[in-house]
Amino acid sequence: MSKISRRSFLKLVGAAAPAVLFPAVTSWAEKNLNQGDSSKPNVIILLLDAMSATNLSVYGYPRPTTTNLERFADHATVYHSHYSGGNYTIPGTASLLTGTYPWTSRALNYSAGVKADLIGDNIFGAFGEDYHRLAFPQSMMANFVVSQFQDDINTFLPADAFGKLNFLLNDYFPKDRNMALRALDDFMFQMQAKPASLVLGPLQWSLYYRDSARLATKGYPMGLPHNSTYPIYFNLEDLFGGITSLIPALPQPFFTYLHLYPPHAPYRASERFDSKFVGDGWWPNAKPVHRFSDGFSETKLTSTRRRYDEYIASLDWEIGKLFDAWEAEGVFENSYVIVTSDHGEMFERGEARHTTALLYDPVVHIPLLISAPGQKIRHDVHAPTNAVDVLPTLMQLTGNSIPTQTEGKLLPGLGGVEDFERSTFTVEAKRNPAYAPLTKATVAMRKGTYKLIYYTGYEAQDSFELYDLAEDGEELRDLYPEAPEIAKKLREELLETLLAADTPYIK
């Protein structure tokens, strides 16, 4: 699988670091490794977990959360109506990496992956042997999906590669990473519930507690960023420092998938941005509490949203430094640089974060900014697009064949054209068996300016909501009872598409 071991790769990164710090110095890594086919563009996907487009100033959010992404947008294509395939990491990541909706990949449940016959059709495999393919799934949920594709990945950086602690056991099983992750990190030594290992489990917990308590939290008033359910601590400086050094050291052409955990909860802004938005005078519109919400108070939601915004601003600061370094290295001249997310985050209607049956825009409207090699001007796309579009687009751009199973289309401006009548879908079915028809799920369909949301299996009767996002971007006025003709047309399309997806599983 891995042509470069983790240890030798990290050495290589270390060797390349001087080139970043002192651009005049030609590093050892550049001399020895960057000798591939330079006619093909490099591709870098920088995925920021749980980053909602709603909370980004680059998409018009009132708080200045992403001033550096705004700079990046000046030489990128900005997709304004881009949607995730799901509302949490597993389906969101699977949609991006397989070009299929969750009801096709069946990556629906916690700790799950894509179905067996799709594993071979992943984005890493599609890039082919010409590309050096690197994956860094810092999010553990992303690991469940990405580790399934390890046979097509040249360099697999483990989730704790640039972290402060090393307690993940799947690192020690590079040939069987996916199953070791599921059996050891997610079961025997799990932290979501009591460990299944009676003796070594509590020993690991105790060592983890001891080491994490000793970590210096300087620069992070709320404590270091960490993964809430797996033993990973990190700080943004080290994380982005590692990534900065990573790229110039890679053999070209390369495809890198960097799935970073921030700004996922817990929100740990750096000192520079902690409390930055306290008393800034901006308040989101209060929205009615949804019957499926957990009933968080408006006060709690407002303060949580502020912390999220501050964490995004901290992240954006590091992204700015990263892009400046890449600019100096000339990375943008021969690379497609893609900034996106796997799902959003919501702080409204009594619901916080994304573990929800709700599919309102804050939790499914995600950023997508793509800078093409040498691009100098901004381009804006407003037609609906989806995470499933990224794979076919990248294959087209790099001269590779598009896997036949993909449900995505070429992104407008990068081979495709703006199609406002196209339907895109987001699927939530984490409590539904993966290989059975979707009887407990939420499906959102975006078509034109309309968005139809379908809830099934949560109540005695299925229900729909319909919004016109051009007129009502906050999704406050449900048109479903008011516009029966439009509702009927969209409902029929959604139900037909769902039925087609379910057909292989109907006995």
Partner: protein
């Protein structure tokens, strides 16, 4: 060597090991069946079997590590203190220690603070366990019960050891080839 003479015989080790095996494997199996319905949602039978194999290997390592404690005590302590009652004292030490670990594990959850007070109490609890272990000489009936019970648990070794060894082979094959 004095140490070698105090090393327990296989027939002494087996019942003590059986106590460790029953408690360690039962704990993991209970967690396994608790997670089983969710795995059925999205996993194949083969994947669940591999998770089971990893579990068995971890359990094998744990049970051997736990067994080393009474063996170590037998070797380093005077013969009369531990070796002569290895089965009784070893089984009691293993059962009480693993029982405490079960209690400890029940307090571990990422949404709760780490149970630091339990860690602070651990030396006292271990001291209590050791005192109980050495007092067992004075409770004849307990001695008999422990010997009989641990002897009956040996039957589980006929299942756990072969399955664990097969699991070990599976894991080795998956990680070598």
């Amino acid at each position: 060597m004095n140490f070698v003479r105090k090393f327990p015989k296989l027939e002494q080790i087996a019942p003590v090991y059986a106590v460790a095996v029953v408690m360690i494997y039962a704990w993991s199996l209970s967690r396994f069946f608790w997670r089983f319905p969710s795995w059925l949602y999205y996993s194949s039978a083969g994947e669940i079997a591999v998770i089971f194999a990893y579990m068995m290997v971890v359990n094998l390592i744990e049970s051997v590590l736990v067994l080393l404690v009474p063996i170590f005590m037998s070797v380093i302590l005077p013969k009369r203190w531990f070796y002569e009652k290895f089965v009784t004292k070893g089984a009691l030490l293993t059962a009480l220690s693993l029982g405490y670990l079960m209690y400890f594990d029940n307090h571990l959850h990422y949404q709760n603070p780490f149970p630091l007070e339990l860690v602070y109490r651990t030396p006292f609890i271990l001291a209590g366990i050791l005192i109980t272990v050495f007092l067992v000489d004075w409770i004849g009936v307990l001695d008999k019960i422990l010997t009989e019970l641990s002897d009956r648990l040996i039957v589980f070794l006929y299942i756990s050891i072969p399955v664990s060894l097969i699991s070990l082979l599976v894991i080795l094959v998956r990680n070598i080839f």
